[in-house]
Symmetry: C2
Subunit: 167 residues, 2 copies
Amino acid sequence: MTRTSLSDVACSVARATDLFGDAWTALIMRDVLVGISRFDDIAHDLGISRKVLAARLARLVEEGVLVRERYQDQPPREDYHATEKGKELYPVLLALMSWGDKWYAGPAGPPLRVHHDTCGRTTTPVMTCEHCGEPVTIDNTSPRPGPGGAVGPGTMVIGQLVPTHSE
Amino acid sequence: MTRTSLSDVACSVARATDLFGDAWTALIMRDVLVGISRFDDIAHDLGISRKVLAARLARLVEEGVLVRERYQDQPPREDYHATEKGKELYPVLLALMSWGDKWYAGPAGPPLRVHHDTCGRTTTPVMTCEHCGEPVTIDNTSPRPGPGGAVGPGTMVIGQLVPTHSE
């Protein structure tokens, strides 16, 4: 199974990681969402080769996560902006950041803080239940079958493990 | 800059993706957290080569995300369980899953649902502010410098963009 075929697995984690399971892609999205939008700036920020960056950006545009826009004609220059689909990757970045802050920041502390403009406070975002607002963890949740579930490559065992009864 | 040196970037997203920015690693963690713990079962579930799986599992054990435990002596067999550090990757998986559900599930619908045992309802987890409980989005938050921030490879531009004033 190649990376590409992950998009065929009946699992939304697999489908998401087909695009996002790549360190450079995560860091490119971090940069664009924070406002670093020009090719040269992203390349400089990440210390990434122009060839690798061009390939990753092309894929992100193709997937509708970024759009490329001309900001200068002479000479032609373009920059990148997140679509709605791209902006909605922000929680993935926040989840990675929180985990990295907790387990890798060390004595120096977190490199970055998140300010919640709506309430005016610095926050550590938490993944919560849409109904009761309490944190969701692996220990207080359980998987249930969804309508799009299937047993197949990438879900050969997990597709059978998930209880088949509906609630 | 190689993948390995991402762990040296003053950015928790980079540090997290140094390990987790890999599609197989995400899917292995999905499996272990759902309860697929034996090498053969994970290999069968994912359709992954034993060599690739062994390398990924070894890295996850080395990073303290999984522990390997002997469950049978004759012949020797071992399985894998998530540590606290591993369990705390669950929000990353949930964020990837929510995004994949929204943008890739299509007419078939989500393959899997999350049941919040605490409140007894099927939920779509939301990333919220720890203070006010409202959803955090890229549009209602802004980055602030943290104590561990630095300008360097991987943060050459972003390290200067983030406002340097404390609140």
